[in-house]
Symmetry: C2
Subunit: 120 residues, 2 copies
DNA sequence: GTGTTACTTAAGCCCTGACTTAACTATTGG
DNA sequence: CCAATAGTTAAGTCAGGGCTTAAGTAACAC
């Protein structure tokens, strides 16, 4: 598994945890401290920090220390590889459907050939 | 973690493994047997079968036994929760950007008030 | 300067994930 | 029937994930 930031592996893995998705949802509304993120999650600070670090490692989040508090903010642009992959999947699937449809039409035409002239 | 099929948890987790993504890419082109899927991955059959099972548990794939071979096919529609979540994230992010922009414009107008009358 | 706050590190625990080999079972082709 | 094929189950290894508590450290607030 490639664990460099911004890869599909790290991104999907970062998104696979509900706690981290909750954090991302929170951060989409604006920056927050680690405590802010931990509070609604009923979780100790070390655990929350670990998740933040993981999001940061994935490249989805950037953090900055201001005095004694660490502020995290979303880097939304980094979802790109994920959406790109999903789009590519959809494209492949649709290409296949198209091929299948042409095949089905050919079959139908072969079956109904010179029987009638359809216009549906 | 909710492990029922079709949930964000199971979907993202299923997608987090490169082996499984490769399988999905292959299946987007059409159905395949477990051996077909295992072959290019340099992996024993039990391991491949395990991945197929996991994709099936996530709801992304359906399988059917034909004689002694198990055929897997993609159920592309099941990506929906993932794309929906990503779209929602983007929407939240953009709503925030809009608010920020309005704020910035207000600041600019406050700063330049009665200095000039802009028309950009 | 002393206590509180906000993180940080370290250690450890338990469970799951991704494999492997070995030993079946169920088809199928000669 | 018999051997090869395709999958399946069982068992075990090994690494990592998600948490905890306990013990720091650094910045503030008085």
């Amino acid at each position: 598994m490639d664990l460099s930031p911004g890869t599909l592996d790290t991104l999907f893995q970062a998104l696979a945890d509900p706690t981290r998705r909750t954090m991302l949802e929170r951060l989409a509304k604006g920056p927050a401290s680690v405590s802010d993120l931990a509070a609604p999650l009923e979780m100790t600070l070390p655990a929350a920090l670990d998740h933040v670090r993981r999001l940061e490692a994935a490249g989805l989040v950037a953090t900055e220390k201001q005095g004694r508090v660490r502020i995290a903010r979303l880097v939304a642009a980094r979802y790109a590889p994920v959406t790109t992959w999903l789009d590519a999947q959809r494209a492949m699937w649709e290409a296949r459907l198209d091929r299948f449809e042409r095949f089905a039409v050919r079959q139908r035409d072969a079956n109904t050939e010179s029987k009638d002239t359809r216009d549906d």
